[in-house]
Amino acid sequence: MTATVFGLVGALLTGIGLFGLLARPEPLLRILAFNVLGGGIFLVFGAVARRGAGAGFAGDPVPQAIILTGIVVAFAATTLAVALLLRIASDDESDPS
Amino acid sequence: MSLLVDAFSLLAILAGLVFFAAGTAGLLRFPDASSRLHALTKADHLGLGLIVLGLLPRAEAVGGAPRLIAVWLLVLVSSAAAGPLLARLARRR
């Protein structure tokens, strides 16, 4: 039951994040929306992991480990996006043409 | 004996929740940033302290109780630092 609830939350978050990513024009908000979207995808995956509980584990450890990896990779992508954004902002400032 | 311990845990955690609710009410109802922060930090510290107190007799391993207390102390220290920072930021705006 818990797995289904949070799986559906993950599906909704994916839609919310995707909408923000496409419909909001502010670059920083797009980065945030991308992370909301990522959280939703991870939650869908986590719900599947929870359904695969067995052999004495609270969830299937393989998708759980992959989600962990995914969170770190999403963070790396976010830092790169922020660095790009700040560089563009500083170039706009020094060259306002 | 265990009934007494359970009653103690229940009472302490419920009291903690009351303080959390009060702090949240303060956050939502108070007029300016400083009094909101005041309500939030004061009430939440006491609330968290009471919840930790209620959970102490239920700590499983030997290291459980010190870890619970460490969590409370770390929250105290971090919000003691975050509160003034937020207040300073709010005053500057």
């Binding site: 289904t4 839609g15 599947v48 359904r51 969830g59 790169l80 | -």
Partner: protein, 308 residues
């Protein structure tokens, strides 16, 4: 059940508020709350390892990074696309609703019993000597994923640094921080690191048998470096420093070396010799923790910028 409903409603509310918020600063604050609420969901889903990672990296480090970015782009007209028109917005909303519906259908139509690799993990975990199944997957069964992920962090550092302006190349990373002699942040920067480092070592070490491990420990270590940096008490080394570059790459390099050694002796890349699996895994874990911690901190601090 009620707890699930409350957490689910809170997550959805905060996510909607993030996407709909007017100011970037508010959006970031809501996003941090989103990360913390997500870690509640992970606890409810029985994934404590992920809950720790989400709180430390998804809410903590991302929060610090994005708050810094929000304050630095505030008031500047950063390049912005045009807002989509009404018809376009409706089309986007319909498309997103379709994606949500497809994912929801996938969740609701999951076969029963759901596919699971848990029995295979349980059958083979003994060979690794680890007690934490997630750590066993990360370091042994899917070791290649973890290796590639640590390589991604090294690449991300290189990519972020390459965004430095030409005249700042090789300089000190990140914006200049004012030196705080006293005040709450300076106090925290002095008080917390010894405790934080202790907690990080603890989280790393118990990670072999209980939830925890290198990513969570590395995130805590990175925070313990960034705290004195924010208070102006520690200046990060210039990115041309050789030891810094070696330190970022050392963990993945050691992982590759041990993987190649497994290829020579056991006939498969990243295979551990029987009996030596646990010591080798712990050596790699410790080396990766150090490299990942430095990489995470450097990613949050950012590339060198122009000095005013």
């Amino acid at each position: 059940m009620m707890a699930d409903g409350l957490i689910a409603a809170a997550i959805l509310g905060v996510a909607l508020a993030t996407i709909a918020s007017r100011g970037t600063f508010t959006a970031v604050a809501l996003f941090i709350a989103y990360g913390l609420l997500l870690s509640f969901a992970w606890v409810r889903l029985g994934a404590i390892d992920i809950a720790l990672t989400e709180a430390a990296i998804g809410a903590g480090l991302s929060g610090a990074l994005l708050l810094g970015a929000a304050s630095r782009v505030a008031g500047r007209g950063a390049a912005m696309d045009r807002r989509p028109g009404r018809a376009m917005t409706v089309a986007i909303a319909l498309g997103c609703a379709g994606v949500t519906a497809a994912l929801a259908a996938a969740i609701l139509l999951l076969p029963d019993p759901a596919p699971s690799l848990a029995p295979q993990v349980a059958a083979n975990i003994g060979a690794t000597g680890l007690g934490n199944p997630v750590a066993a997957v990360l370091m042994s069964f899917r070791g290649l994923d973890t290796l590639l992920e640590s390589a991604v962090l090294v690449l991300a550092v290189i990519a972020a640094w390459s965004l430095a302006p030409d005249d700042a190349w090789g300089g000190k990373p990140g914006p200049m921080q004012p030196v705080l002699a006293d005040g709450p942040l300076a106090l925290l920067a002095r008080l917390l690191p010894p405790l934080g480092i202790l907690v990080a070592v603890h989280v790393l070490w118990i990670g072999k048998d209980a939830p925890g491990g290198k990513f969570q420990a590395a995130a805590i270590l990175a925070a313990m470096w960034m705290l004195p940096w924010m208070a102006g008490r520690v200046v990060p080394p210039p990115i041309s420093a050789r030891w810094l570059r070696v330190a970022v790459a050392a963990g993945p390099a050691l992982f590759i070396a041990i993987g190649l050694a497994g290829w020579m002796t056991q006939g498969a890349f990243l295979a551990y010799p029987p009996g030596l699996a646990l010591p080798l895994i712990m050596v790699v874990e410790i080396a990766l923790t150090a490299s990942i911690a430095i990489a995470l901190a450097l990613l949050v601090i950012g590339p060198p910028g122009r000095r005013a």
